[in-house]
């Protein structure tokens, strides 16, 4: 109960804080008097008048100053009043700049435009920026503060001080404080203030802060030194963020590898069949996605966002079906002859590629991203795209699902039994040929599902699978054959290592280094990271 009342109080405080007005209001007559000052005298007087207008902090002033900047303010020759004029045929339509009241029309000769030069435009921009700092709309206040941060106008400091004092939204306050610090650095305020400003910016962190400090790091004296120190500390924290960013890239690459390799981990790892056509199963999955999207586009465009969900089971069935077909027609004659299986499935892969090329053409096919897969969001200095995040999630879900099937279903039990001891399993009444066919189908089907995911980030072309087959083998061999956990760890390790190497060695060299590493690793541990324990010996 106590917590509840605290919560209510907090909520009430927040609400009242948001509702509190930030702008002041003065009488129309006073404002009109100040506005009329704009039309008196030359640029210097106008400058001063802008200053006094801005000082009122009235919400209407920014619109008036905008009009001045646009060249819409005129002086009526008869009474020297400042009016807003709009061309209407040969005459001008006049309105009162303060109240917005209609003042009728006047011939063009009866009014004279208030001229502005670049200096005035700057003053206007700064004044408007300052004024909008007190706007009622939080978004306007924020963008005003950001504008000051860019312009680094020292004249805005007093306005910022006032705005910071009145500001209730913590996030906007942070921006304002940063903007003030940026302005202070540009001003001729005493050194102590500048040092404080540098500290403020340093605490802020991030790339923007680094850019702000960049022009002071070369300065002499205490300011330069403080700027250098702050820059270094920001840089080192950015380095950490960079590493984190690379790790997220690595995780995403790792999940792509996991998706591509996990089906292979079943056919190669569990069944001992080298399926060189595995990449083509992935490709078929991607083409199923393409076909599903085409059908949706022509017959039910509303369903586009669900296209991937529709494609998933279809891709599983199509690729899995092709897999069963391959197993029944080719692979089952070659059990126990791994090298020949390798050659035969390579032949299958060539034929599948050419078949797809004949049906769909050799060029890339476009597969669209549903709305929930496009776009990105940021966490601190990290930029994460939704498609990457979904693929990571998806890969882990597929992995978990596969684990469940293998460990918790009768089919999985039979598969493991056949893997461990074919004769004994057969003697126990398991129909090993069926288990072989379905296991191969399962591995191929999962490759098809991977194809649906890969269609979102890669070109859908007949060569899609070729790009993944070597990587997939590397993952399975590195992780340890016959162990799905090894595949998971292998995929993530290789993905992250690849992305961490990339900034230093470049994309291609990084990949080469990794391949060389795996080649050396296999020499050291020929059975991979997670080798199956036991006394099984190769023939």
């Amino acid at each position: 109960m106590r917590y509840f009342s605290v919560l209510i109080t907090a909520l009430w405080l927040m609400l009242s804080a948001v509702a509190a007005p930030a702008a002041t209001v003065i009488a129309d007559a006073d404002l009109t008097r100040l506005v009329n000052q704009l039309g008196v005298g030359g640029f210097d007087e106008a400058d001063a008048a802008i200053g006094s207008l801005a000082a009122t902090g009235d919400g209407r002033v920014s619109a008036i100053l905008d009009a001045l900047g646009e060249g819409d303010l005129f002086v009526r020759k008869t009474d020297k009043a400042v009016v807003k004029a709009e061309a209407a045929g040969r005459e001008f339509k006049l309105t009162d700049p303060v109240t917005g009241a209609d003042l009728g029309t006047a011939p063009k000769a009866a009014v004279e435009k208030i001229r502005v030069n670049n200096r005035l435009r700057r003053t206007i921009a700064a004044a408007v920026g300052t004024l909008t700092l007190r706007s009622d709309d939080p978004a306007v206040r924020r963008s005003a503060a950001e504008a000051v941060m860019k312009s680094k106008d020292a004249a805005a400091i007093p306005a910022l001080d006032a705005a910071i004092a009145a500001e209730t939204d913590e996030r906007i306050k942070v921006v304002m404080v940063a903007a003030r610090a940026a302005a202070v650095l540009e001003s001729d305020l005493p050194e102590a203030d500048k040092l404080a400003a540098i500290e403020t910016i340093g605490d802020l962190g991030g790339r923007d802060a680094l850019a702000m400090l960049a022009s002071y790091t070369g300065a002499n004296g205490a300011v330069g030194e403080a700027a250098r120190k702050a820059s270094t500390s920001i840089e080192s924290s950015l380095l950490l963020w960079d590493a984190a960013q690379n790790i997220t890239y690595g995780l995403s690459l790792g999940s792509v590898l996991l998706l591509a390799a996990i089906g292979l981990a079943i056919t190669f790892g569990v069944m001992g069949v080298i399926n060189m056509a595995h990449g083509e199963m992935v490709m078929i999955g991607a083409y199923v996605t393409f076909v599903v999207q085409e059908v949706i586009r022509t017959s039910a465009p509303d369903l586009f966002d669900y296209s991937l969900l529709i494609a998933l089971p279809l891709a599983f069935l199509v690729s899995g079906g092709v897999g069963v077909l391959i197993e029944r027609s080719v692979i089952r004659w070659l059990y126990g002859r791994p090298l020949e299986t390798l050659l035969a499935t390579w032949g299958v892969s060539l034929m599948l590629q050419q078949a797809v090329r004949t049906i769909f053409g050799a060029q890339n096919r476009e597969v669209g991203n549903p709305s929930w897969m496009s776009g990105s969001f940021t966490v601190g200095e990290l930029a994460v795209t939704w498609s990457r995040l979904w693929i990571i999630v998806f890969a882990l879900v597929v992995f978990a699902g596969l684990m469940l099937v293998l460990k918790r279903t009768p089919f999985g039990l039979q598969t493991r039994a056949v893997t461990q001891n074919r004769q004994m399993a057969s003697a126990m009444g398991i129909r090993t040929p069926w288990v072989d066919a379905f296991t191969f189908g399962l591995g191929s089907g999962i490759a098809g599902i991977a194809g649906v995911a890969l269609s979102q980030i890669d070109n859908v072309s007949p060569n899609l699978g070729q790009g993944y087959i070597i990587d997939s083998f590397m993952v399975v061999v590195f992780g340890g054959v016959g162990n799905l956990w090894g595949t998971l760890v292998g995929a993530m390790t290789l993905g992250i290592a690849n992305k961490l190497l990339e900034p230093y060695a470049g994309a291609v060299l990084g990949k080469i280094l990794l391949l060389v590493f795996i080649i050396l690793f296999i020499q050291k541990r020929p059975r991979g990271l997670f080798a199956l324990k036991g006394r099984a010996i190769e023939a």
Binding site: L334, P338, E340, G347, L350, A355, I470, M474, V516, E538
Partner: protein
């Protein structure tokens, strides 16, 4: 002893094959150069070059067969050794261009001038001399194979694992040679060759000579392979192929035998590449593509692994088929090649030559133990 070893390899069948090859090496160029163009037996120059290419492939296939058919090492990366030999020859040919290149730089090949390089990288030194390039054709693939094999065989990486890492090896080299800053011409590779040992590479006589050399080198390699296959060494290799553990338990240092034949085979592949490049006039990183290496394996499988004539027959036949198919029905070639892989592994595991040999052996003395033992096992 060496003489005995060599003479031992020179049995009747080998003698016949070598004689046929030498005859081809002499007669085809002669038919090209000395018969008038309208003579029915005249061989046009493009056909000479094309056949030269086939025989270079045959040499590669022979190299693959030596490790796969006799030692059970299925290499999916022999294309890498082939391409390395080709690059060594290509570098020599590049240096011969001299000032005739587009940028007319006396030292730097065109692509280096294009990339704004100021001086020759160290690994290009010496390639202006033919003897050095020829040495490198043997040494570079040999050294790579030695180092790779030394690690792989010592840690007993066998079977499909070895196949996969050989594939990774050639894939890594493919990626590396695609890089411009490797200094091997990036994805354009090396091309636009002018002359070899002072002879114009485009000239009919040069092409005929290159053809003859290719076939003679093939004959030499066949002779060496045949000598090995018939020696005690060859018997141990077959032992390794059929029962590696048992051979080891019998006291043989299996890894040394494998390493020797593996390195020798890589050198043969390198020579094949070096003969291939001046005939086709280009070498680029796509030669490292894993698919090329696997294709070389299928030549051997079609011809018959574990026989030495098989890979030659297979390479020439499959490549002739490829040329014919891609000319007549280009879309169908990959179907045909894919079907070839499947049909050969399923129905013709001994290949053409192996099947014919088994047939003859059966007719002469039905099902003796010796005939059974000749079957290559996994």
């Amino acid at each position: 002893m060496i003489t005995g070893f060599l003479l031992n390899g020179f049995d009747t069948r080998a003698r016949i094959v070598v004689a046929i090859l030498v005859a081809i090496a002499l007669l085809v160029p002669a038919a090209n150069l000395y018969l008038p163009a309208d003579h029915p037996l005249h061989v046009p120059t493009y056909a000479v070059t094309l056949m030269g290419k086939y025989f270079a492939y045959a040499l590669l296939a022979l190299a693959v067969d030596l490790v796969w058919g006799y030692c059970g090492i299925l290499s999916l990366g022999h294309g890498a050794f082939f391409a390395l030999g080709g690059y060594a020859m290509g570098m020599y040919l590049m240096r011969q261009i001299g000032t005739r290149g587009v940028y007319a730089d006396p030292i730097l090949p065109d692509f280096m001038v294009f990339l704004n390089w100021k001086e020759l990288p160290w690994f290009w030194y010496g390639f202006d001399m033919f003897w050095f390039a020829a040495l490198m054709v043997l040494l570079v693939p040999g050294a790579l194979a030695f180092v790779f094999g030394w690690f792989a065989f010592r840690s007993r990486v066998t079977g499909v694992y070895l196949s996969i890492i050989t594939q990774a090896l050639t894939y890594a080299l493919l990626l590396a040679f695609f890089r411009n800053d490797m200094g091997f011409g990036g994805n354009n590779g090396l091309t636009d060759f002018k002359d070899i040992l002072g002879y114009n590479v485009q000239a009919d006589t040069t092409r005929a000579t290159l053809f003859a050399l290719t076939v003679l080198f093939l004959a030499l390699a066949f002779f060496i392979a045949s000598a090995i296959a018939r020696s005690k060494l060859g018997k141990v290799l077959v032992g390794v192929r059929d029962a590696e553990s048992r051979t080891r338990f019998l006291g043989y240092r299996v890894e040394n035998y494998k390493l020797f034949v593996w390195t020798l085979s890589a050198m043969m592949a390198g020579v094949a590449g070096a003969l291939y490049v001046p005939q086709v006039g280009i070498i680029n990183p796509s030669e490292f593509a894993p698919a090329n290496s696997i294709e070389a394996v299928i030549w051997v499988a079609v011809g018959g692994r574990g026989t030495l004539i098989g890979p030659i027959v297979g390479a020439v036949a499959v490549n002739f088929g490829k040329t014919w198919f891609t000319g007549v029905l280009p879309e169908l070639w990959l179907f045909a090649l894919g079907a070839l892989f499947i049909v050969v592994t399923l129905f013709l595991p001994k290949g053409i030559v192996g099947t014919v040999q088994a047939f003859w052996a059966n007719r002469r003395r039905p099902a003796t133990p010796a005939a059974l033992a000749a079957e290559p096992a996994e």
